[in-house]
Amino acid sequence: MIEVSDISKAFNGKEVLKGISASFKKGETNLIIGGSGTGKSVLLKCMIGLVKPDKGNVLYNGRDFYNCDKETQQSIRREMGVLFQGGALFDSKTVEENVRFPLDMLTDQSVQEKQERVAFCLQRVGLEAAAKRMPSEISGGMKKRVGIARAIVMNPMYLFCDEPNSGLDPLTSVKIDELIKEITEEYQITTIIITHDMNSVMEIGQNIMFLYQGAKLWEGVNSEIIRTDVPELKEFLFSNKLLREMEK
């Protein structure tokens, strides 16, 4: 379980996050939604330690990430898997080497053990045939799947995904969403997904938080979101024509 309490962050005097508190449950896909520039990615970066919040705490199963010793912080980091928006694959390494990278760096496993784990993760995301290819030789959807394989290779307890559907066609988006949900439920991971994709909200949003201008405006499950009375959320939800038609 991840709990954030009263997280605030400002850049050059401009407040990007305004006292956000929330808890994200284990074994569920927790979605953070909102328009562009509402602070979703900054909140994610605060949670994974890339940006230090000005105020507030981030608790990983009760361990305060910003107020603990370096060893605890390091062990929390090793329990995290992160899927970045563009995949963030290392250009100079093959797909297989990218997935194996955390094992090479952070474990003392034998070559055999590492190979087996990498093969399993690649098979789990359906990319065993692309193991020897370079990131520049694979499609955007495949890059995301390699990113997922790399994120889960260390058996993480927490999985963070920054806009996993951006730049993908609707069909591939659905496949990526399903994959993340399956992995979350199968390994009982606490998954947090940053998105503004409405398909994801409706398909996999078990616990949804809506951010607006750096503040939390709404929290609930996907079956409730359609019936919301919050005008800003309604405007966000029914911004495309198809959904407006459905609402009518």
């Binding site: 994974i48 330690g49 890339l50 912080q73 390091q74 980091r77 090793r78 995290m80 992160v82 970045f84 928006q85 563009g86 963030a88 694959l89 290392f90 250009d91 955390p102 090479d104 760096m105 952070l106």
Partner: protein, 242 residues
């Protein structure tokens, strides 16, 4: 001043908590190939021609009947050892290696590859930059020794093939009044310049913010700042060591 302070803090992070030694060894070998071995061709071309031109132009200027013609070789040798091989070679390397390092790290930064390392708990500056710095400090002196040899050989070829100096005079000249300390001085320079080029270029690339335009800008700044620092360090080393 704040940039200089940030640069020194960055240098401090290189020696922070590191990774396994085997990881560094592998990375160092990769960087030695990337920085050193891949620069051999350009260094060979530049050095040979600079040596050849030095010989021809020195001979052109030495027209006095009281100065022996072997002095041409002596001047070529000392120019190569003291200045041309270490400084010009490193300025060429600042262009080739410096821009490469800055653009590589800049691209890694804007594509979140460095963030990915940091999230894993890896000291990204140490993992990415330290092997580059050590590789530059190891391979640059070797490249400079190679450059000095080719420069003197280039002078020999140009001088003897054009007839401005005989083979006997050239060989006599390059052995005349030789000061072994100059070789030590020649090797110290690229050691220092390698450190400056690798750290300045890494610093510029590592803190790139933005997109492709900013990567290009970082790369240009890396080369210009490296060249300026080489010239300043060249003067300081000459004052200190000669």
């Amino acid at each position: 001043m704040s940039v200089i302070g940030k640069y020194f803090i960055f240098l401090g992070t290189l020696f922070g908590k590191g990774e396994k030694l085997s990881v560094y060894w592998r990375r160092l070998m990769e960087e030695c190939v990337g920085i050193g071995v891949s620069s051999i061709f350009i260094v060979a071309i530049v050095s040979t021609f600079i040596g050849a031109v030095s010989c021809i132009q020195t001979a052109y200027n030495l027209v006095s009947p009281i100065i022996p013609i072997s002095t041409v070789a002596l001047i070529v040798r000392d120019m190569e050892i003291l200045e041309l091989a270490p400084t010009i070679t490193c300025i060429v390397l600042a262009g080739k290696v410096g821009s490469n390092i800055a653009s590589e790290l800049g691209t890694m930064r804007i594509t979140e590859q460095i963030d990915a390392l940091e999230v894993m708990g890896i000291n990204s500056s140490s993992y990415l930059v330290l092997p580059k710095v050590i590789a530059a400090m190891l391979t640059f002196p070797m490249l400079v020794i190679f450059s000095a040899f080719l420069g003197i050989l280039g002078g020999y070829l140009a001088g003897t093939l054009t007839g401005v100096i005989t083979e006997r005079d050239y060989l006599y000249g390059i052995r005349d009044s030789f000061v072994p300390y100059n070789i030590f001085f020649m090797c110290v320079k690229p050691f220092v310049f390698g450190f400056l080029i690798a750290t300045i270029s890494s610093f510029k690339g590592f803190f790139t913010v933005g997109g492709a335009l900013e990567v290009g800008r970082s790369s240009t700044e890396a080369v210009t700042n490296s060249c300026i620092s080489i010239l300043v360090a060249d003067y300081l080393l000459a004052q200190l060591l000669l």
